[in-house]
Amino acid sequence: MVEGEVLLQLGGTDEPERAFGALKHIHLLSIDRGGRKFKPGEQSGGRAHLRGVNLKPQGGVMRTVRALVAGIIVTLLAAQPALACGGLVAPDGAVNLGRTTTLAAYHEGVEHYVTSFEFSGGGSEFGSIVPLPGVPTDVVKGGDWTLQRLILETQPVERTSLFNAVAEDAPAGQSATVLQEHKVKALDITILEGGGDAVGRWAGEHGFQLSPDAPEVLDFYASRSPIFMAVRFNLDRARKLGVDLGDGTPIHLSIPTPNPWVPLRILGLGAGPRERIEADVFLLTDERPNLLPLPGFAKALKLDYSEAASDLLLADLRSDKGMKWMPKSDMWLSKIVVDGTASELSHDLAIDPTGRVTPSAVAAGLLDVIPELPPVGDETQQWWAWTIVLMLGAVVWRLANRFIGSAS
């Protein structure tokens, strides 16, 4: 899944023909306090599948049903806190922090990462850079209600009454290498490969203005995966497409990777060390996953939901755009609530989707990349063994300081 997102200010003034609107990047989906993000008009290409009834778009009745479903979801979400992006840096240096939501689903070796970018108007200019665990094979517009549906799933009390009502009422390098460029609605998306320095320079040359912590954070990610996604709104296209203030554009990335992880540290980009970072991270895996760091052990993480995903949920998600890859049954749904200061969130979230082994400490951002061991018999082997022992000792020491120390 994943993703982290980093919002970076765009200095678009030197590129008048490419003025940018403000961009809010939300993992998976963005909802404002008014809950108006989920517009019925955006549902026309999708299908709703509620309570086992497959709702196919077949004319006026089905449009009415979809509008009802969307309306119910909007109503349910109206009470939610604002889902904004972390690390939104304004021109005056202020940081706009809000709650973010992300889905990372892992199936058959592919991490499906869904996130949403919200158009917040043209007053200030923002871009976003998201570290990725690998090179995506697909970057497309995401489904319309996947994130909202997951939020509802983990709030069973509210969901039950209102969803029942619906179901009953309706029939249910030096320089970074540009690997890929995509246009999704009004978003210009660039997939980059390079070290932290190269990606930072590319961003600067393309109108992004990075916050002072960006060099360290970009290096932190680049040492594990040199793949980044840079996103910005194209204001001209937004106008032509009729994108309104607050409209969210969900993005769905398919990323083959043996080591799925979700970037969390990036959420604190641009924030002060004591500023609070809040996010909801949904995970869908074939088995009950092992996580690192362990929620609860890491002060900023809490495992808020962990149950077998219902067939109904999976059917609903499968009915959304681009979600057919998802199995019809046998998936595990986890919800991790991120709530801590930026300084506590100095790590990411590594996932072992099999539930059989401990996730990679490197993928979790707790350990620097391990150098390759020389072949057996090498005369330096003993030296390497001692190096590894010392490194492991350092990791234990770091973990103890981070978690035990921060909990005291």
């Binding site: 320095d197 930072g200 990075l210």
Partner: protein, 132 residues
């Protein structure tokens, strides 16, 4: 850019100040900027000396190197000057580049050095200069 780098390297060779340690009385002090921090961040200079600072920005973002007392740092924090370089002890350094400035210190006291691009000073981009 390259010319300035060679100049900086030449100065370093000339004065034998290849190390990044700030030394009392050294006429040339090399400052490295990485991850929005000065290294070294604590500098000692001799009273009344003129010191040449060779400042390399190893970050992919722009930084500043501004010497002054606390009042001067406050002025810079709210100032609007887009570029520094004309006055002694003040530099704007683009990503990956090296800039040089000289500054003559008073007979005693303590000065500060800082970067005042938005949020940089608060983030920790500051240091001290002790005159003795």
């Amino acid at each position: 850019m390259r010319g300035r780098l060679f100049l900086a390297l030449g100065l370093l060779a000339l004065f034998g100040a290849g190390c990044r340690q700030a030394e009392a009385g050294a006429p040339v002090i090399a400052i490295e900027i990485e991850h929005s921090r000065f290294d070294p961040a604590a500098i000692r200079v001799e009273a009344g000396s003129t010191v040449t600072f060779v400042v390399h920005n190893g970050d992919p973002i722009a930084h500043e190197f501004l010497i002054g007392d606390a009042a001067a740092q406050r002025r810079h924090e709210t100032g609007t000057e887009p570029e520094h370089g004309a006055r002694p002890g003040e530099l704007s350094i683009p990503p990956g580049e090296t800039r040089i400035t000289s500054y003559t210190f008073p007979s005693d006291g303590r000065l500060l050095v800082g970067c005042h691009l938005p949020r940089h000073y608060d983030y920790g981009m500051r240091g001290t200069i002790t005159i003795r």
